[in-house]
Symmetry: C2
Subunit: 131 residues, 2 copies
């Protein structure tokens, strides 16, 4: 029921903008992206077209111009990307991956505390889980 439309790296940047502030006119998308990337407006329009073809971006004629909005859910897509990454690089082994990310050492003390609390919570839930 749910095809997996491959969103390329450049296309992903467009989706991020749209997810963040949809609905948006093409010109708005272009404005935001040209601040971060050296992309021609033409290029960005191409990316938009492709996202529409792929069925992940939608549009409606609002007023004189199109207004674009996401068709697919950001959380869902991110989850998919997480799973792809995990599978591709770690063969799906979550813990080793987490350990390495933790060892990359980019966490503040308060991040660490938050994560510990989250894990504590998880552990408790495990305890009360149904078999």
């Amino acid at each position: 029921m749910n095809e997996a439309p491959r969103v390329s790296e450049a296309e992903w940047e467009v989706m991020k903008v749209v997810w963040a502030s949809a609905p948006l006119a093409a010109s708005d998308i272009i404005l935001k992206l040209t601040k971060t990337f050296s992309w021609s407006p033409k290029t960005i329009r191409t990316l938009i077209s492709r996202l529409i073809q792929k069925g992940v971006l939608g549009y409606s004629e609002k007023g004189k111009y199109y207004e674009y909005f996401p068709i697919v859910d950001e959380e869902e897509c991110m989850k998919q990307e997480r799973q792809n990454f995990l599978k591709r690089i770690y063969g799906g082994a979550l813990k080793p991956m987490l350990v390495q990310f933790l060892q990359d050492d980019n966490l503040t003390s308060s991040d660490i505390e938050d994560l510990r609390r989250l894990l504590e919570q998880k552990e408790k839930n495990k305890g009360t889980e149904e078999t």
Copy 2:
């Protein structure tokens, strides 16, 4: 000093095999990969060639055939992939990413405990860090 050779997904699978058991003859690489993927031996040889062109795979004439070995370090490459992923999907924000991975709920109780211990350790180190 260190160009970033883009290793594609299929190529990455070849590297994984080589990292795991180098040095290997092409036929060995092919044997291992055809067990997991429906790739023609020709395809795998193409991937090997491209990896050599990209400078991430090396070979030496051992006996009658080539023996292949990795030029780049697996840990380094994985770190690079982690960073790419983190940047691309989370704009570089490590904690949110970790939280989501944790919430995907694929950890056993003992995984969770290990991670907690690791975080505890990290927190201690933070305490004794030089400014």
